[in-house]
């Protein structure tokens, strides 16, 4: 089994107004477990599309994506959803915490559909509590998202992305809507947690400071890596 995320000659194009528009062109790279990669580039160059394809939220026009030895696009929809649940963690620019649930409950949502892990060292609840403590939100664990600041919500979103012990975490502009201080906190957390959890971390960002915390940085321009 592979120990990395490998993207090979990935292409993506859309039909718009009867014309084909190329978003990604022959993009290839890989990220090993425990490594991190920042993808930068101007707006509209396909960064988020690339992340969505790796996260199986979108499909490539051509090329392959190998996530730790699995070609996710060969999986039927149900297995693909299960794969995403167990292998990939998402962090978005907006935290997308459910306003009706507490922070702890929000964090546990991905674990709701995760198959039971008999050999797991800890229960999802214990893991959630530990990770919440790890990001400094223990005192806000039972608060609702509406009672937290944007930075706190995003920290909770980071924890949520890790709850099922994924192999890879995909973060799309995770600090895009945060103030500098909060962005710093999130950057640090992502970097540290990537090591602690031994996950491959791919971050799409405009923030130089965040990119600097990653092992590698790639730039996309007009859909191609430069």
């Amino acid at each position: 089994m592979s120990d990395r995320v490998s993207v090979t000659k990935l292409c993506k194009q859309y039909e718009a107004g009867g014309e084909a528009r190329r978003i990604l062109a022959d993009v290839s790279f890989d990220v090993a477990a425990g490594q991190s990669l920042a993808i930068m580039g101007p707006s509209g160059t396909g960064k988020s599309t690339l992340l969505n394809i790796i996260g199986t939220l979108d499909t490539p026009t051509s090329g392959t994506v190998d996530v730790f030895g699995v070609n996710p696009f060969s999986l039927p929809e149900k297995q693909l959803a299960s794969f995403r649940n167990g292998t990939i963690g998402f962090i978005f620019q907006a935290h997308h915490l459910l306003p009706q649930c507490s922070i702890l409950e929000n964090v546990l949502i991905p674990s709701l559909i995760a198959p039971p892990a008999p050999n797991a060292k800890e229960t999802p609840h214990a893991r959630a509590v530990r990770l919440i403590e790890r990001v400094g939100l223990t005192s806000r664990m039972n608060a609702r998202p509406g009672q937290l600041s944007g930075g706190e919500c995003q920290r909770a979103a980071v924890v949520r992305s890790l709850i099922n012990a994924p192999r890879v975490v995909l973060a799309d502009e995770p600090t895009g809507s945060l103030d500098r201080s909060s962005a710093e906190t999130i950057g640090t957390l992502l970097s540290d947690l990537r090591r602690e959890e031994n996950v491959a971390l791919i971050v799409v960002t405009h923030a130089e400071t965040l990119a600097a915390r990653m092992d590698r940085t790639m730039t996309l321009r007009d859909g191609a890596l430069v």
């Binding site: 149900k78 997308h96 459910l98 009706q100 949520r160």
Partner: protein
């Protein structure tokens, strides 16, 4: 964290949105369940009426014109098995009559005159407080209301005295045998309990007049007789036990069979005061038949003996070798005629045809033998009890129903009468007699047995079934009729369809709106690995829980809705039910079905609402949090073609109708209207195309800010062309249905003079309480009834024979298990009239549909019925058969060979008069009449006939009025649909507010931008409002224009005014409601901070 907790969190957090959806679901369930409760209530009320009108009566022995001893009840009740099973048997004398309020001369026809014994009141409730004494009557509230009578008032009761011999029979009783009884109203009984006693299943209370049975027996000269036996019990006894008890108690006297034993003459004889022995009875006997007939004359050698009895019989009354063309005269007659053996003898006699037309016939014989007036030939009892003849001492006192020329009766004839009475003067062979004067009432006037071989039935009970006397299971039949009656649950579900759909759409809209506003949440769940199915299931469960709460709330609403409907049904819509005796009743099963259906339907609506949302990709949902522009999809070529074809077809249909003068064809104009609606909706869709937008914007250029905003708003409707078209289309369809259905009420006066119309082209329809026997189309017949010949000049009366039964029309909510049968004369077939909906035999053209009645070569009787009544009242279809009991209780099959469109003949099963008489030979006279009169003299004709035949209870009404009474039911249903459809539209217009909210939420960034560039809140409000007003106006206008075309025939009619006020009020309310909903939604959105939306954009 569990799924349940997640669900609960979502439910509680989004409670406001859910409350809206739950309320809409509550409305849907309330309407649905309420409709079912209305069905339960009507069914329950019909069952209660059945229980009222029958009391504890389980079985009834209906004698009709057969009268048995009124002590039969006691004899039956004394049978050992009977007492174990039943609480009692009760003799009643029931006859139709006329009640007249003496002070005001107000009349009520078709009154049930019910002679009872005090024990009658034990079978039910609400009887008089004190037993009725002689000269006292009790009337029910309906009759009291009709007469305007109060306790203490004097009432005259006019009834037809039943003859021993049916009036249509040869030498039947005289027609003018009515008797009048004067009595004082002792009590007015409510229209419940036994006050509405009736054996017919109908929710309309009959006119009932109760009096002591002895008073009625005396007046009818039926001392000690009754014609109805009721068996009461609590359901423990079986029909077999009752019938067995009847058989054990039944006597020859009950069967009106007399036994005469003549030791000297050596025979035992069975005869009947009804003159003719019933053929069924005869068929079981082995005695020798005798038939004595009244002849006008016996002629020979140019001489004539007038008015004599002639007996047809076998040996020993006649010579064993008497041939069919031979005759024997008694010595007196032979001498009178100077006849000797071998001479030619002729007899002249009458046979009674339809409408008592006497046909004179003759028969020729050769004199075989002259017999002395002694022994068997001197038996004056051979003459049956011909009414008016047999019971008088002198020929001068003869009072027969046939026109006897008294001048012909000579003194010697009078002497013969005094000496020998009706001793037959001639004897012929039995077979010949059968050929000459067999009639539908029977053939034999007596059966004789040698003393050595008496009739087997003597000394034992005579099986009453032989005479068609058997108990009918009236209780179970009544319960069945009520239980299988008009399904008001289904009917009101149909009427409430629009309301239910509106509630469900509103619920789906509100729920979808809530789900769409949570698209980020949905996207996240998908992103973290929830499958589409799981997300959809989660949302669906959430929705179903909301719907469950809503449906539970709706159960309370259902009660209120049903009670409101019942209240309106008992008052404003009473024409649809014909009774105000409707009681609220809800069956647990209906509540369960209503509750479950409410949830189920809501779940389906929610399923469609969430399906689209959950099928969007996580990326899409997360990226835009549900905000996305609907790409404009240009209208397809097929849609354009459909639009053009629909428009051209609509114009073509209208043009054709105008060109052919077919301006009243509702079908053509309705089709044209529907086609125009399709064209209009396609045009509306086209208005939302970019090209149309540009045109609208162009027109707005250079105009005021108000107009510019209006233009911009109108253009906004194109942003969501599909949603905008759907909104306008819903309003258009609702408007079309409400206007088209509301205005398309039936008008009985349209083409009333047309023979193919529902009146059949008849000016008048009449019913008579007592039978009319005379032919009103002949001078003689008019003379007899006292109608001036000139009055009926140019008038033709088509008399109908009627066998009473259940009303088989929309006026009866019960299932007509024992429908009224009407015999249609051949003359109506020749005249034609009415229009046929369908005819079984394709060879018969619709204009000759009546011929189907005579198209029978089998035992099955061809029948015609109203098309709707056949389906909905009898629950049958064309070609089906209905088994009924004939006069003798034998099952006979009627086959429906044709159906009529709505007409004044609704309510009855029509068969040919010939078939009618074969089924009910004893039914004499006519009880219903179709009167073909010049319409300009219909009022005069009506008045004249009513006056001349007042004693018969002849009650003519304009045929159009009768048709209108049937149409009133349908028109009330249309009003109901219009009212409930209008309510549905009002509810649907609330949906416009939800659409406004959804549109604004999706475009809040855009609206925020407008605020940012300086638009005031009012300007933005007007912008949003104008867009939705545009949809409202487009929808209402499209529907209205199409509906106006559809109802063009109704607009031309003057008799049934189009209910413009209610239609316009409904549409006005929809407009105002829609406007208010849009205003409220706009106002709410404008109060939300818009600028943050701009930032998030």
């Amino acid at each position: 964290m569990t799924f349940t907790r997640l669900l609960l969190r979502s439910l509680t957090y989004h409670w406001r949105a859910h409350a809206g959806a739950a309320l809409a679901a509550a409305v849907g369930t309330a309407v649905l369940c309420g409709a079912l409760i209305v069905g339960d209530s009507v069914r329950h009320s019909l069952l209660a009426i059945t229980s009222d009108r029958l009391g504890d009566t389980q079985f009834a022995l209906i004698g009709g014109d057969r009268f048995f001893g009124d002590d039969l009840a006691k004899r039956v009740a004394a049978q050992p098995d009977f007492t174990k099973s039943f609480s009692g048997a009760h003799a009643v004398l029931l006859i139709q009559g006329i009640a007249i309020h003496e002070a005001d001369d107000v009349r009520a026809y078709q009154v049930q005159i019910i002679g009872t014994k005090p024990d009658f009141w034990t079978i039910g409730t609400d009887g008089p407080a004190e037993a009725l004494k002689s000269g006292e009557i009790a009337i029910n509230a309906s009759l009291a209301h009709k007469l305007g009578a109060a306790v203490g008032d004097a009432v005259r009761v006019r009834v037809s005295k039943p003859g021993v011999l049916p009036l249509d029979a040869p030498l039947g009783s005289k027609a003018d045998s009515a008797v009048i009884l004067r009595a004082k109203v002792k009590a007015i009984l409510p229209d419940k309990g036994l006050g509405r006693f009736s054996l017919n299943a109908n929710q309309v209370a009959p006119y009932n007049l109760f009096l002591p049975i002895e008073d009625l027996q005396t007046k009818l000269t039926q001392k000690g007789r009754a014609n109805l036996l009721l068996v009461a019990g609590k359901g423990a006894g079986s029909l077999e036990v009752a019938q067995h008890a009847l058989q054990a108690a039944w006597t020859l006297d009950d069967a009106q069979i007399r036994v005469r034993k003549e030791e000297a003459l050596g025979f035992t004889e069975l005869s009947t005061p009804r003159v003719f022995l019933d053929d069924n009875f005869v068929s079981t006997q082995i005695g020798s038949g005798i038939s004595t007939y009244f002849v006008n004359a016996i002629r020979a050698n140019g001489k004539e003996t007038p008015y004599s009895m002639v007996t047809a019989a076998g040996a020993p009354l006649t010579d064993a070798d008497l041939k069919e063309d031979e005759i024997e005269l008694n010595a007196w007659t032979a001498e009178d005629l100077g006849a000797k053996v071998g001479d030619a003898v002729e007899i002249e006699y009458w046979v009674v045809g339809l409408q008592r037309k006497l046909e004179t016939r003759t028969a020729s014989f050769k004199l075989k033998r002259i017999v002395p007036i002694e022994g068997l030939h001197a038996d004056r009892n051979l003459m049956p009890d011909f009414p008016g003849i047999a019971d008088v001492d002198s020929t001068h006192d003869w009072d027969a129903s046939v026109p006897i020329d008294m001048k012909k009766i000579r003194p010697k004839d009078e002497d013969y009468w005094k000496k020998y009475r009706g001793t037959p003067k001639a004897f012929i062979a039995l077979k010949r007699g059968e050929q000459l004067w067999r009639n539908r009432f029977g053939m034999y006037t007596a059966l004789r047995y040698p003393l050595s071989n008496p009739p087997k039935l003597l000394g034992t009970a005579l099986p009453p079934e032989m005479l068609g006397i058997k108990f009918a299971d009236v209780k179970n039949a009544g319960v069945k009729s009520a239980g299988e009656g008009t399904d008001f649950g289904g009917l009101f579900l149909g009427f409430s369809f629009f309301l239910i759909i509106a509630a469900l759409l509103l619920m789906a809209l509100v729920f979808q709106f809530g789900v769409e506003s949570r698209s980020g949440e949905t996207g996240l769940l998908l992103a973290v690995g929830f499958s589409t199915r799981r997300v959809r299931t989660l949302l669906l469960i959430e929705g179903v829980l909301v719907a469950t709460v809503g449906s539970a709330l709706g159960m309370f609403g259902a009660t209120a809705y049903a009670q409101a409907l019942l209240s309106v049904l008992a008052t404003r819509w009473v024409a649809a039910v014909g009774t105000s005796s409707l009681e609220y009743h809800a069956e647990p099963m209906s509540l369960y079905i209503g509750f479950a259906s409410g949830i189920f339907m809501a779940a389906i609506a929610i399923f469609f609402a969430v399906r689209k949302q959950a099928s969007r990709s996580a990326r899409e949902l997360l990226a835009a949090s549900g905000r996305h522009a609907e790409p404009f999809s240009p209208m397809g070529k097929i849609a354009k073609i459909v639009g053009v074809v629909s428009f051209v077809s609509a114009l073509g249909a209208v043009g054709w109708a105008l060109a052919t003068g077919n301006r009243a064809s509702a079908e053509v104009f309705f089709s044209a209207g529907a086609l125009l609606l399709i064209a209009a909706l396609i045009l509306v869709r086209r208005l939302f195309s970019p090209k149309s937008e540009a045109a609208l914007v162009h027109t707005a250029q250079g105009q005021s800010a108000f107009q510019a905003l209006l233009g911009l708003g109108v253009r906004g409707a194109s942003r969501r062309a599909g949603r905008s078209t759907a909104t306008a289309a819903l309003l258009a369809c609702g408007t079309f249905l409400v206007v088209a259905v509301g205005a398309n009420k039936q008008d009985a006066t349209v083409n009333a003079q047309d023979r193919s119309s529902g009146t059949g082209g008849f000016a008048l329809y009449a019913q008579s309480t007592n039978p009319v026997y005379e032919d009103l189309n002949t001078k003689k017949g008019r003379e007899v009834v006292g109608v001036p010949d000139a009055l009926l000049s140019g008038v033709t009366v088509f008399p109908l024979r009627v066998k009473g039964g259940d009303e088989a029309s929309c006026l009866n909510l019960n299932r007509a298990s024992n429908p009224r049968i009407v015999g249609v004369p051949k003359s109506l077939t020749e005249r034609g009239g009415f229009s046929f909906a369908s005819i079984l035999d394709e060879k018969i053209k619709k204009e000759h549909g009546w011929e189907a009645l005579h198209d029978s070569n089998s035992e099955i009787v061809p029948a015609i019925c109203d098309d709707q009544a056949l389906t909905y009242i009898l629950n049958l279809k064309l070609g089906d058969t209905l088994t009924i009991a004939d006069e003798h209780g034998a099952p006979r099959k009627l086959k429906f060979v044709a159906t009529l469109n709505s007409s004044i003949l609704q309510g009855s099963v029509l068969i040919s008069e010939e078939s009618f008489l074969s089924l009910y030979p004893s039914q004499s006279g006519y009880l219903a009449f179709l009167i073909d009169a010049p319409f300009e003299k219909s009022a005069e004709t009506s008045k004249g006939l009513a006056s001349a035949l007042a004693d018969e209870g002849f009650d003519p009404i304009p045929a159009a009025e009768r048709l209108a009474s049937f149409n009133a039911v349908e028109n009330t249903y249309l009003s109901t649909f219009q009212a409930l459809g209008g309510l549905g539209m009002l509810l649907g217009s609330l949906g416009l507010g939800v659409v406004v909210l959804r549109n604004m939420l999706e475009r809040r960034g855009e609206l925020a931008l407008l605020r940012a560039v300086g638009y005031s809140r009012a300007a933005i409000g007007w912008l949003v409002l104008s867009e939705h007003l545009w949809l409202l106006v487009l929808g209402l206008a499209s529907g209205m224009i199409a509906a106006l075309v559809a109802v063009a025939p109704a607009l031309q009619s003057t008799a049934v005014p189009v209910p413009w006020l209610s239609i316009l009020a409904t549409l006005g309310a929809v407009f105002v409601f829609g406007l208010l909903a849009a205003l409220a939604a706009t106002g709410w959105m404008l109060r939300q901070p818009l600028l943050p939306a701009l930032r998030s954009e």
